[in-house]
Amino acid sequence: MWKAKVEVMPKAGVLDPQGKAVQGGLATLGFAGLRDVRVGKLIELRFEAESREAARTLVEEACRKLLANPIIEEYRFTVEEV
């Protein structure tokens, strides 16, 4: 069994209204010195695969096809055997 952690973040340069809202919210809460906030998605998958190689291929494809929108988001992931 494998576990993948996929991080999907808005691409640099793409407006991130969520991040902006959280930044504003934290500022009202008195969080001083805040420079930047970006909000993305974290997706955890558990699945069967033959090998690390096969596991990575599966996740890579999942990212490209469904988990991330390459036009506005970038992704990275790690896989580990569990």
């Binding site: 209204p17 969520q18 919210g25 009202t28 909000v39």
Partner: protein, 223 residues
């Protein structure tokens, strides 16, 4: 009767609530989220909308608005507070009502009329209704899926804090919950929109009884 309608950045049912309160014979005034006083108001409504875009979690940021301290104080004095839709979400985030509202089980925003059963007709806002009565009111939300952990839920049920239940569950809420109140019954939160159902022209009048409960003075007496 003066009703304060709290306006957060991104509230969009504020004017609707004001209009609806007027339709049932009351007077409603806007209170800007940065205000710090509710002096002179007999009741407070937190309207629906998308405070701060609801970009993080619904109501999560709004609950830190300056006015919220005053709303808590007002509620603590036993005076009537109603949160509708986003207002309900804000009240739960602020801890004035139990539980939390999650994304609809279908993951889609849902706008349509639903039927609700009145479970508690003793709150400030449901005095004009009868227990077991079925109302038809519109819902319009993407995150109305009520949740409380099992112990809390059992407590809520035991104490009669469930105010409204969906006849048919549209969003995955536990125990079909559409609205709850605090222990004292003066603070009520509900996902459906009573302010959208105050004239026959707009498709129904069942919302009048809820908004009207406070205006007739019954709600105030209740506390």
């Amino acid at each position: 009767m003066r009703v304060g309608v709290i306006v957060f950045p991104g509230s969009n049912c504020d004017a609707d609530v004001q209009w609806a309160v007027e339709q049932v014979g009351g007077r409603a005034e806007f209170v800007w989220h940065q205000a710090t006083s509710l002096a002179g108001f007999d009741a407070v409504i937190l309207p629906g909308g998308f405070s701060y875009g609801d970009y993080l979690r619904c109501g999560a940021i709004a609950r830190f608005s300056p006015i919220m301290g005053e709303v808590a104080r007002f509620a603590g004095e036993g005076r009537p507070v109603l949160g509708i839709c986003n207002g309900f979400q804000i009240l739960t985030e602020a801890g004035l009502l139990p539980g939390v509202l999650r994304r609809n089980a279908g993951l889609k925003f849902l706008c349509r009329p639903v039927h609700l059963r009145v479970e508690n007709a003793d709150t400030a806002w449901t005095r004009g209704l009868q227990r077991g009565q079925v109302l038809r009111l519109p819902i319009a939300h993407g995150e109305g899926n009520y949740y409380a952990d099992p112990e809390e839920l059992a407590e809520l049920e035991r104490r009669g804090q469930v105010v409204f239940r969906y006849v048919t569950n549209p969003n995955g809420s536990v125990n079909n919950i559409a609205g709850v109140c605090n222990r004292e019954g003066n603070v009520v939160g509900m996902m459906p929109h009573p302010e959208r159902a105050v004239t026959a022209l707009l498709g129904g009048e069942d919302g009048r009884r809820i908004l009207g409960a406070v205006l007739s003075g019954e709600g105030v007496r209740a506390c």
